[in-house]
Amino acid sequence: MNTTFNERLPKVDHLFIPFIVAGDPHPDVTIELALALQEAGASVLELGIPYSDPLADGPIIQRASQRALKNNMTLEQAMNLVGKMREKGLNIPVVVFTYYNPVLQLGEDRFFTLAHKNGVDGLLVPDLPYEESEHLREECQQQGIKYISLVAPTSSKRIEKIANNAQGFLYCVSSLGVTGVRDTLNEDVLGFLTEVKQYSKIPVAVGFGISNADHVRLLQDHCDGIVIGSAIVRKIEELNEALLLPTSRQKALVEFKGYVETIIAPIKPCEV
C-alpha cells in the first residue's frame, strides 16, 4: 500500500512542490506547464481544481480559477488531464488540490477510479480539516492515495494529532491568511516549523506566500519542502497570451521554467 506516491517521489534534500491550476490558461497548456515544472526540478505537482468559491485562496488563484472555469474545467477532466501528463512523461507524484464540494458531487468511488486510471497520487482538500476528513482519509489510505493534511499557525494543540495521521507530506501553512504572494514572511514561521517537525514522521513542506528565492533561503533549513503556488500562477497569468498562442508557447515555457528555477535556486535539487 501507499507505494505509488513514495515510488514516484524524487529522493532530494528539499522537496519543491509547485502549484498550478488545471485548465489555466488552457488544458493543453497545463500539460506543458507540468512538464516544464518537472524539468525545473519539481518533486511533487500540486494540481489545483478550479472552484467557484475558493475560500482559502487569494486573488491570484481566484483569477486563475475563473480562467479555468471558463475553459469548462472540472474535477473529472482535471484528473484525466493527469493521465495525459503521465503519457507525455510526467513521473513525479501528482496531488490534486480541490475544495471538498467537487469531490462530494463527483463521488468518492468515481474519484478513486479516476485517480487510479490517471496516476493521481494524492489529494489535498483545503476546506476539509482533520475532524471532517476522517472518512476520506481512511478511504484514501485504503486506495493508496496520499491524503495531504495541513497544519496552521493557529493549530497549536491540534498539531500533534494532525501530524500523527498525516500522509505523503505535512503541509505547513506559513502564516494566517489565504494563498497569495507576500513581500515578506513573518519569521514566526521558523519556530512553528520547528514545532511541527518534532511531531512529524514524514516530510514537512511549507507553503502560502512563498514568492521568491529569499523566502526559500530563509525557510530551507527549517523544512523538508517548499510549496510555491501564487508566485507561479501569477507568472502564468503574465504569460497568458504567449502561452495560448502556439507560435510563442515554447518561448513562454522557457521563460516560465527560468522564472521557477530562479525562485528555487537555493534548493536546486540533486539526487541523493
Binding site: 467557484s52 468559491d53 467537487p102 469531490v103 475532524e131 494566517l176
Partner: protein, 394 residues
Amino acid sequence: GRFGEFGGKFVPETLMQPLEEIEIALKEALEDDAFKKEYFDILKEYSGRPTALTYAENVSKSLGGAKIYLKREDLNHTGAHKINNAIGQALLAKRMGKKKIIAETGAGQHGVASATVAARFGMECKVFMGEEDIARQKLNVFRMQLLGAEVIPVSSGNKTLKDATNEAIRYWVSNCTDHFYIIGSVVGPHPYPKMVRDFQRVIGDEARSQFLEREGKLPTKIVACVGGGSNSIGMFYPFLEDQVEMIGVEAAGKGVDSDLHAATITKGTKGVIHGSLTYLLQDEYGQITEPYSISAGLDYPGVGPEHAYLADTGRVKYESVTDAQAIEALQRLTIEEGIIPAIESAHALAKTFEIAAMMKPDETILVCLSGRGDKDVHSLMEVIEGGIEYEHNV
C-alpha cells in the same frame, strides 16, 4: 456540530482553533446568568424587545380564513431581526476580548446591525459587501459609514452576498486572532448555525408566550421566509416539540422552473457552502451557481444546515414564492394593515395569505414579519411602474 448529516466545519485548518474557542466561549456564556441578563437587558432597553404581536385583522377578514398574527421584528432597532443576533455575537466577542468585528452583508441589513452593535460596544467594524450591492444600496452603505464602520467593496465573483461572505471569511482567516466574525444568518461552520439560532430563538420564545396569552392556544401553522434562514429558525425552534405545522418559504424569483430563483431546499442538492454541509444551488460538478431573487436578503445559494435537516425529517415544509407573488403580498399588507413589510418577509406573507384563505376562521397562522420594507421602497418604485395598480379590496 451537526444537524443530522448537515452542518459541520468545512473550513481551512487555520480557522479550526478560532471556531473551537468560539464554541467554548458560547457554551460558557449561555450558562452564565450575567451574560444572559446583559443580552436580554440590551434586547429590551436598546432594541425595544419584546416586539409586538399584531393581529392582522383586515387581511384575515378579507381572506375569510384563518386569523393571521404578525410577529413584528420590523419594530426592532435598525428595522429587522438581524439585531438580535448581532447583539448576541457582539457580547460574545466582548467576552472573548475581541475588539474588532467583521461582517458580510447583501442588502445591508446585517451590515447595519453589525455596525450598530460595533458602535454600541466601542468596537472596530469592517463590513464586506459586493460592489453590485454597494451600488444598489447606497443609503445602507452610508448608514454603516455614519455608524463608524468601514465598508469594504468586494469585486470577486458576481460581487454580491456569496462573494462578500467568501471575502469576509478570507479576511477572517488572515486576522482570526484578534477579529470576531459576526455571521448574519444560521449558516457558516459550526458553531455559527447553532449560535445564530440561539440568539434568534427569542423571536419564537416571545411569540409563543404572546400567542398563548392572546389566543389561549398555540397557532395552527407558523410561516417564515428562508434565505439563510435565521428569522425562520428563530421563530420555528421554540415550537419544534409542539403540534404546530411549520412552513419555510424560499424565494422562487422568476419561478423555480426557470434559472432565476433562490429556492435552495426546493431545487438544490446537498453540498458544502461557506463551511457547512447543506442544500445549495450548484451545477453537476459542484460549482456553486448564482441565485436570483428580487429580495437581496433571500438571494443566497445555500441555506442554514438545520433547515436542511428539518426539511429531510419532514418536521418543516419548505415551499417557495415568486417575486411577483411577494410584491403583491407586500402591497396587500401595506394597503390593508398599514404595515410595509420587507420584501423578504413578503415571501412569508404571500404563502400565509394563500393558505389562510383555505383555513377555518377558528384556525390561526403566526407569521414572522422579519423586517420593515422602507429599505425596499426605492426598488419598488422601479418595479411598480406607473403607481400602484393593486386594488384595495377590504
